[in-house]
Symmetry: D2
Amino acid sequence: MQLGMIGLGRMGANLVRRLTRGGHECVVYDVNADAVAALAAEGATGTNSLEEFAAALTTPRAAWVMVPAGLTGDTVFKLADLFEPGDTIIDGGNSYYRDDIERAKALVPKGIHYVDVGTSGGVFGLERGFCLMIGGEPDVVKRLEPLFATIAPGVDAAPRTPGRSGEPTQAEQGYLHCGPVGGGHFVKMIHNGIEYGMMAAFAEGLGVLQKAGIGRTSAADHDAETTPLTHPEYYQYDFDIPEVAEVWRRGSVVASWLLDLTAVALVEDPELATFGGRVSDSGEGRWTVLAAVEEGVPAHVLTASLYERFSSRGEALYSDKILSAMRKQFGGHHEKPSS
Amino acid sequence: MQLGMIGLGRMGANLVRRLTRGGHECVVYDVNADAVAALAAEGATGTNSLEEFAAALTTPRAAWVMVPAGLTGDTVFKLADLFEPGDTIIDGGNSYYRDDIERAKALVPKGIHYVDVGTSGGVFGLERGFCLMIGGEPDVVKRLEPLFATIAPGVDAAPRTPGRSGEPTQAEQGYLHCGPVGGGHFVKMIHNGIEYGMMAAFAEGLGVLQKAGIGRTSAADHDAETTPLTHPEYYQYDFDIPEVAEVWRRGSVVASWLLDLTAVALVEDPELATFGGRVSDSGEGRWTVLAAVEEGVPAHVLTASLYERFSSRGEALYSDKILSAMRKQFGGHHEKPSS
Amino acid sequence: MQLGMIGLGRMGANLVRRLTRGGHECVVYDVNADAVAALAAEGATGTNSLEEFAAALTTPRAAWVMVPAGLTGDTVFKLADLFEPGDTIIDGGNSYYRDDIERAKALVPKGIHYVDVGTSGGVFGLERGFCLMIGGEPDVVKRLEPLFATIAPGVDAAPRTPGRSGEPTQAEQGYLHCGPVGGGHFVKMIHNGIEYGMMAAFAEGLGVLQKAGIGRTSAADHDAETTPLTHPEYYQYDFDIPEVAEVWRRGSVVASWLLDLTAVALVEDPELATFGGRVSDSGEGRWTVLAAVEEGVPAHVLTASLYERFSSRGEALYSDKILSAMRKQFGGHHEKPSS
Amino acid sequence: MQLGMIGLGRMGANLVRRLTRGGHECVVYDVNADAVAALAAEGATGTNSLEEFAAALTTPRAAWVMVPAGLTGDTVFKLADLFEPGDTIIDGGNSYYRDDIERAKALVPKGIHYVDVGTSGGVFGLERGFCLMIGGEPDVVKRLEPLFATIAPGVDAAPRTPGRSGEPTQAEQGYLHCGPVGGGHFVKMIHNGIEYGMMAAFAEGLGVLQKAGIGRTSAADHDAETTPLTHPEYYQYDFDIPEVAEVWRRGSVVASWLLDLTAVALVEDPELATFGGRVSDSGEGRWTVLAAVEEGVPAHVLTASLYERFSSRGEALYSDKILSAMRKQFGGHHEKPSS
């Protein structure tokens, strides 16, 4: 079937490619004319303005918005002005699910449908397919199902879960209508929250592994800042972290796609010398914590993994200074200079 | 080659089966004669005492001890009394790596070698192979390599990590000589610490998902104990958790063996009605935290995941009562009865 | 000077008493006529309706709203309808500072001023005075200063901070104009966030103390759920927690009002037998976490203290069941039944 | 009564001064002869060697060892060689309670008693008195009680806890015989663990306060690393942190000695410009976590406060690099350079 795609960055472009390869017809638009031309060369119908884009789509139109998060709302409403009742706008970006709810509400008077799609897969999605978490009205989502089925990895992407039988469900094909509008991005938000926690688990564990030779440091290297080890003889190891990550990929309980990626990263740069350790965070990790707090559900791990990213960027500095200032007051401790 | 196996529980028996199928010769012993008989029927050489076991092995002997953690030390030393210089004892159980170091030291005067092997794979190891993390003297570990290669999942168990080339390393075959004695169990300890963190990430994330309909609860259900939601309209979802777990298995960033297992569990018991929520912990999670603390490496996530298990078993109760008692003092708050 | 007080619960009534004793004139109103009568008997001017209340105040009016959080907005706007330009409404309740900002904005067209006051002191405030954190326009706050000075504990409530000299500042008297509207409740929010963290620190520490005799438990009491202690000889204590709390009150680093209250609670109920351990949380603790997340400032401790309260009320149950379900899958572990 | 003091650093010297002023007789020794001379000038009996020190004490001797933690064991055993059955050695330093247990055991054959004293009070102890947490045999501790009573702050140091009556207990005087040997340092360890948690609560809360003006930063200052604020209008504050700390000292729930010290520190250096934010940790915070883990008691807050100190010293760097490396793999995210 036909789909319009606005936003031809890496994600948008790969979605178009997957759809085109799957036999769908794509009408594309981007503020960057080169991006349009590139996909047109691959078989998509290029357009040069939102108006032209809207005109090129047959009604009931279906348009997927895949622009940077800060521009999504604007793009949705501009598009809505060019669309007609019965048309559908799909937000496939990293939107906050609450914004979906508000946008959908605002489009109701115009008779325009709104579908939100949380899309996971990163740079590998073109080949692996994208995992799709979808929110919206049932009949609208149903109509778009051929598109989702093509974008998703498909049933063969993983062995069937024991205990399942019969016709594969949507989920088994790699896409899921999760619930009413916002539900797709809610599930995607939690997915990313979990991702943060898993990443932190690997990062911390490897961090402890990496320092397992601390007992070999001579006592002279210790100072008042660091408590001396009671048993240095238990910390005499020098583990080959890239090989450890590799061995866990086979047969262990922590086998996972994130571990596969870690193994790749450690082959590329075994000492991680190209990284300074400032870790960004996107909205989803934060929103997951806000949801946990509002629901009253404890989420120690997901929250800690977010805070560790804040700390990696120096955001604990004021708090740390407060601690040093207190220590100086009650104990006369003088903080070790930053050297 | 020949290996002796002491302890024919699920893990020990499956190791023997994998070795036998792989063409190795196994001499087995267990206090339970039936377990011995069962494996003898499958081609192993059964023995009825430690003495008989030691006698049935050709020198230099290699014996794998796979008994409950509390019995390992005893078994190792009894065996050592029957062994000769040049023989090797392999501890494949869930030992604390420090005990390995101490045991190996105690065996040095007898000329007996000690190898520690952290073994991951659980109930699936017989078919999938076991991920092996090995500590010990290089030449001793090298001599045993044919056994490890057979037990491990093998190179085909995962696609090759991009960037790797040439002859596959040990790690790519699913076993790794990690370092001197204790190093195998150290790496296994960290592996399990990471496993705890990953499990908690899934558990917390699904916990937040599961309560995403809290806004539908009528205000009358709220009480002084719970802060009312500012925006109940944002918590109106009723997600199908088994399907969510399933969809993430294909193309998402959190795809992992633990997610596969979660999906299985949710097919078997979608409401998790057969579980009370008391989560055990084994030594490895605790030891990981001890190592983090002694090394001075922050491990918020791994530690929180351990503490959540303690809490699940009611171990926060006294602390919680202290909080209620304080609240009563300064605010006259009366704790809601447990109903 | 004159102040109107709406809401004569414990806090409102005690504020009126402190003001009356300090020579101010109070006009009071509450939906509960008995509460009005009680304070009228103590020298306040009672009124029987919001209209009567507004009429009894001389312009420019100043009215303090001290009603349950859920009713504050409503009361403020009803009152605003009866007030005139130049009058001031003070929100002294536990409002979310964002609501202050929105309410103040809504009152601008009416020319009515809005001041928010975070009030700490609990049941002891009548005697100790209340710590006041104030937000609003500078001249409006200034006009009300005589009231704040009377409500606050006063300069003698604590020894002067070394390094301070000259005329005592507002803060040294126990009240502080923190900034523009919302600023009072923002500072109060953080105050309560810190309070949660401090309470948790005591609760956890005493929790570890309380279990320091775990090594005396016979091995037979241990089971597969609990890792056996490596060194039971180090956990043979039976501490007298009420006496420990008491000794820390003199000369130790943790001396604090919260410790004083803990000591009281432990005298009243040394075993805490009257508590079930379900700990409520109010909005401030949650809002502090939301602010930390939005600002990108790590707040591990404050957040963990909030989550521990959620857990105390059973809110981790679903997550815990997920963990047990995973463990059963990969290890065949059967969760220990709940009793 | 008579006491010998070995180690005349700040703590040891102040203990001697408090004892001398209280009418006790002190025999003192330190490797630094000037320190001995200084206290001799204040009325103590100076000695120039351990032998002279032992000879100057009347039997049954009582000697307090107050040397750096690393030297305590050595000093205790050297002293024991010079002492006789019935004499007592008091370890008043920051020892690990397990070392107390082992040392006491080693002294049993010599008939020498061992008492451990956790001492809190820091640089203020000379004037305020020291809070003493004591472990040892009942009759031995009882014999030393006059010394403890003089060192401790005394009953007037805090108002009596409501509900207590009759003769003040030891705890009400500021010292407590907590239990058998090691018990004093166990309680002190927990005290310091709580201290870490309280300090972190203040540090984090003030950290969130300090960044409450983040909404005033122009959008241009934001970049891909930081999620833009949804509501910058709610983060427009510029709080005067020194005044906020001061106002909380009167009438608030967080009033505490640590807050008093924070207020002093913020008067001395309102911008904390003299601190780099590298926060040391001593053994007690670590040991508290080890105890929590071994007892199976959750201690999220105490542990997080310890890990935050590790992070402040850069110990999360490797983990952070792992996170960045993963992010680059799955999302093509390039870490912001450290600038």
